[in-house]
């Protein structure tokens, strides 16, 4: 047991970091609701709240459907397309994930009809942002189909019946999982629906929190927590299919790419069209919004501090999250299965809380004299916010690669005289390098584009690029927005390229 102490200590510290702010806020909200029971009704069931909830539900469900329609052909292309199509699809999937939805919304803000029909625009915006989740899940499911099963199915029936019947049963959970993840992300989304005028939960809480009612200290935060109470349940509801899909992946379904079913050029063309419509179209809209090179440069120069802050905070956060998650997952390997499952669940659960509520909880928790140096620093709270929001995700991304790693490799290296640190760096990290690079790149892009938590917790002089973009969009300065959006997209692309370049060179 003493050998496990450092691991227990680190896990306890992490759980305290993730849970303490939420528990404090939850307790305050519960006390407030007990003292004033009408608050429940006001926060959850008033006509304004109903409109927000209906708007959020519509957004979640319709976006999941549209993302599925866009994502499934791209997923097939990823798994079975010609080599060049697979490459294009991979880039096309990575790009929207690295771009915050608020940027995808930018070209729609001034579109005709957006005022009268915000829902279709919001749905299309979020579907373009999140469809890669469906594509990647579908692609992974197809790639892991057992070869023998596919061959047998295609031998006894037509390709169409085989895919929609026998093989479909293996792929549907993945598609549903991807769609569920898309819906859950929509439940938390704040900036894009707000810009397009679609009622959403995140923005309503943000406004309520900032409304000019002079409340007792902390009351606004407690009200926000009450309004946000059902969001984790909603997100969990949508994420349940993802859990089922994960279970099907972790079964004995590892297979090699089959030689039987090939993705036709027609299908590749359809997938290419979708890719051209999404990242290509967004890029085109942004590039065509730019004014002269001098104006573009001025827009970037005016936000040079935000650029530096984005680079610093995203890099530091991504490094902490990636290596922190790796450290924890490795340390949990020797734990009993129940303990490991408990630790994993306790770490992942805070990821279900709406980011805006996480931001409120962080302010309430960290704004005290003890943490003054951190709270008063320009970027300290931004990094804390990134860590609190994305640690569950980093852990989820690295969980499967670490679980697949043979623990005997490290032990063997140590038996041969290597120190634990050397064993880790010489045997395990090289095997995990691709997963680490992918996690680092994804987390970097998400941190660089994070808005919901950053808008609440950032300190003076701690603006990151999404904040001026969000404000400029409201001010209607399309050229400046386009310049900053393209800069952010280039940074996300560069981070991904750099991460994979380093891994390639290392290998």
């Amino acid at each position: 047991m003493p050998r496990r102490f450092p691991s227990l200590f680190a896990t306890g510290a992490l759980l305290f970091f993730l849970w303490a702010p939420l528990i404090q806020l939850g307790a305050r909200a519960a006390i407030l609701a007990t003292q004033n029971p009408s608050l429940w009704r006001e926060s959850l069931f008033s006509s304004a709240s109903r409109a927000v909830w209906v708007g959020t539900l519509e957004l979640c469900i319709l976006t999941a459907i549209v993302a599925t329609i866009l994502g499934v052909p791209v997923g097939f292309c990823l798994a079975r397309g010609p080599k060049i199509a697979r490459f294009v699809a991979a880039i096309g999937c990575a790009l929207p994930l690295g771009v915050p939805p608020v940027i995808v919304a930018a070209p729609f803000v001034s579109a005709r009809g957006v005022v009268d029909f915000p829902l279709p625009f919001a749905v299309w915006t979020l579907a373009l942002s999140f469809y890669p989740l469906v594509a990647l899940a579908t692609g992974a499911a197809i790639a892991s189909l057992p070869r023998g099963e596919e061959e047998a199915a295609l031998l006894v029936s037509s390709a169409r019946r085989a895919w929609f019947g026998v093989l479909g049963r293996r792929i549907w959970p993945a598609i549903a999982g991807g769609a569920g993840a898309v819906a859950a992300l929509c439940a938390w989304e704040m900036g894009a629906p707000d810009l397009l005028g679609q009622p959403s939960f995140g923005m309503s809480v943000y406004r309520a929190l900032n409304s000019p009612q002079v409340l007792a200290p902390g009351e606004g935060a407690a009200r926000a927590a009450l309004s946000g109470a059902p969001v984790p349940l909603l997100a969990l509801l949508f994420l349940l299919p993802s859990l089922r899909a994960l279970r099907s992946f972790s079964g004995d379904t590892q297979g090699s790419p089959t030689l039987i079913s090939k993705f036709s050029w027609f299908g590749a063309g359809a997938a290419g069209l979708i890719l051209g419509l999404s990242p290509g179209w967004i890029l085109w809209e942004l590039v065509s919004s730019l004014e002269s090179p001098a104006a573009t440069w001025n827009a970037i120069a005016a936000n040079d501090d935000a650029l530096v802050n984005t680079l610093l905070s995203a890099t530091f956060s991504a490094a902490i999250l990636t290596f922190g998650a790796l450290f924890l997952l490795i340390s949990w390997r020797r734990w009993p299965a129940k303990g490991r499952a408990f630790a994993l669940a306790a770490t992942l659960l805070p990821g279900l809380v709406a980011p805006i509520v996480v931001g409120v909880a962080l302010i309430e928790w960290w704004n005290r004299a003890l943490f003054a140096p951190l709270y008063d620093s320009s970027l300290g709270m931004v990094i804390i916010g990134h860590a609190a929001r994305f640690f569950p995700l980093a852990l989820a991304l690295l969980w499967a690669p670490v679980a697949r790693l043979n623990p005997d490799l490290g032990s063997a290296a140590q038996n041969l005289g290597a120190s634990p640190l050397r064993a880790l760096f010489s045997t395990e990290i090289p095997l995990l390098s691709l997963a680490l690079a992918a996690t680092f790149a994804v987390v970097w892009a998400l941190c660089a584009g994070e808005l919901s938590v950053t808008v609440l917790v950032h300190g003076p002089g701690g603006d990151t690029l999404p904040l001026p973009i969000f404000n400029l969009l409201h001010a209607g300065l399309a050229a400046d927005v386009a310049a900053l959006c393209l800069l952010l997209m280039a940074l996300c692309g560069a981070a991904m390229g750099l991460a994979f370049g380093v891994v390639r060179k290392w290998r």
């Binding site: 001034s110 900032n210 951190l374 320009s378 140590q414 880790l424 701690g462």
Partner: protein
Amino acid sequence: MKKSFFFSIFSLCLCASVVFFSACQTKTDNRVVLYCSVDEVYAKPLIKQLELQTGLQIDALFDTEATKTAGLANRIRAERARGRADVFWSSALLQTLLMSEEGLLEPYDSLNARDLPPQFRGKDWAGVGTRARVLVTRTPQSFDVATVAHLTGGSLKPVGISNVQFGTASDWATTLASRWGTPKTLHYFRALKTSDVRVLPGNGDVARQTAQGVLRFGVTDSDDYLALQRQGKSLVLMQTDKDNVLVPGAVSILKNAPHPENAKKLFDAIVSAQNETALTKQMPGVFSLRRLNQKSNWQSGGVDFSFLMNTPRDNYAKWPQTWRQIREPLNQIFR
């Protein structure tokens, strides 16, 4: 062995964090923290100029467009026990006056503010430029809409305003209430609501939707109107002769400011006539408080705003009380 490994990783992370956060926290003697609700796009270049003028390192925190001014004011209230801001530069006056009443501001009599008209100075605040609430439409109207008071007629819809709980819209509602009285003002906003007024997140949205033809009329800020004009959008300014409202900006030093001397230095620089002129040039649609009676002051962005010259100078001392009377009823009307 295993223990030392975990501790070495943990120590490494801890050291890196300490180094990073120490680097983040600026301990320089010339630091000052500014909470600023003036539009970031206009304020940033001015802040850079102020840094050059004063030699201060100004760390600014801006408000988002969605929660204009009220967001920062609430943040200051939430940080009352352990304030971290030194100076609050607000693009509207109401929140500053409310904070003054709540005892959140430090009295300061700046030499640079003494040339301001007396109604634009308080014991703990000073005015910095003013904007105006203006009525805009997409195409010149064949009929006459003399003032915003006429917007309640159902035949003029759709009309757009920004959220009256935030920013200059709350100052606008307060001014109308202080001139018309609370019952008439609430009746007006109820009538607007009945005629399906569209309440949008910001004044920029009101101007944009009016330019797009989605709204027939919009009540917005003079700077937002000119911003759309500069983008070549079709937007017509209604030269209303009554019920015009000016919304002055304000600067104040916060009580228990962590850097009080630097705060005074920054306050002096912001309220100076030189900075006010720079602001009016940088941000078309903002007018000098020192030259309200000069016609040249009302030429901005190539547009003649001189119809605003005779706008009544309101009694700002009454604003906090008036706002308290109308805030909750307005909240009920527009919820």
